[in-house]
Symmetry: C2
Subunit: 190 residues, 2 copies
């Protein structure tokens, strides 16, 4: 998606350690026009898939999921991060390791909101090692729902999470795919 | 807003301790059609106010803020909750007490994303004691920005936060106003 790639080059900040900051337009301050275009693009990619739920994870996935929901006409379900792994029989749960924050989040979804009839699209802002996607896929499997695919704003392809999931048969559509990063710059996959 | 009141009566869950659960349509699973109508309603209330930023707080305010942003054509800025009160000179910050969770959250906004030229609309899902709004208003004041008003999905009027802020001159528009709650039911303000 050229608009997103151009915006990353213009306003993204590349920092040492493979860090890309997009807080100026995507996950702190959110450009409403860009968000709307991202929603349209995701909708175009998954139109005809009869999505019944869009699953994301708080907090930075919610805006993108809602933009997609506007055009796909499906509800958004966001997995919540809990501080402790409470045993809660009313929830599906998964552990999600964050390489960025160096911790493990326990993410939960209330059981009544996801079930075996659902055809689910996962949406998130970033895909790197794929830990968040694997957690969300686990929750979909626990519910017996069908995973239609994953729509990601920015994939850091060199960290391998996306291709590992594709090799397992998961459909992943990333709007901007970063092939490599140095301490100060990045290159998109052509 | 009749659609929201009807939905609260149909799908909301009233629990002892003045708790209203709306996870089935507003802040866990999010009904995309209801969300869109909420966005239109907020836009209608604040059209002509020349809003330049919509400020909310993670996580459950983000969806509503994005729905409003779609129709108000303004970017969304969401305050982030931090576990510790790190001294960070690049951020505006405030402490927000949660009566629901019995804790204090340190919320931050990066300074470059909010400035003295901004005309800000605050959006959130709930207004009860007003602690979250006061935290966000403090951040707007720290930036020297202008607070245009607050748009709230559900106000629990009997907890007094909204009227205290109105008495201080803050414009608050709540789409559904709960006048009283018992352990099993609620009454809307007419």
């Amino acid at each position: 998606m050229q608009l997103l790639e151009e915006r990353i080059l213009r306003d993204g900040k590349v920092l040492p350690g493979n860090i890309l900051k997009v807080g100026g337009f995507l996950n702190h301050l959110i450009d409403n026009e860009l968000l709307d275009e991202i929603g349209k693009e995701i909708s175009a990619l998954f139109s005809g898939s009869h999505i019944t739920k869009i699953l994301t994870i708080e907090a930075s996935g919610i805006a993108i999921a809602c933009a997609a929901a506007h055009y796909l006409h499906a509800p958004v379900l966001f997995a919540k991060k809990e501080k402790t792994a409470n045993v809660n029989t009313d929830c599906y749960s998964a552990e999600v390791k964050s390489f960025t924050h160096g911790n493990v989040a326990h993410v939960i979804v209330s059981k009544p909101y996801l079930n075996a009839d659902d055809k689910v699209l996962i949406v998130d802002d970033f895909l790197a090692h794929g830990e968040a996607l694997r957690g969300l896929i686990s929750i979909i499997n626990q519910a017996g729902a069908e995973l239609v695919g994953c729509a990601i704003a920015i994939e850091k392809a060199f960290q391998g999470g996306g291709d590992a999931l594709r090799a397992e048969g998961v459909r992943i559509e990333s709007l901007a795919v970063i092939e490599s990063m140095s301490d100060t710059s990045l290159t998109f996959k052509k």
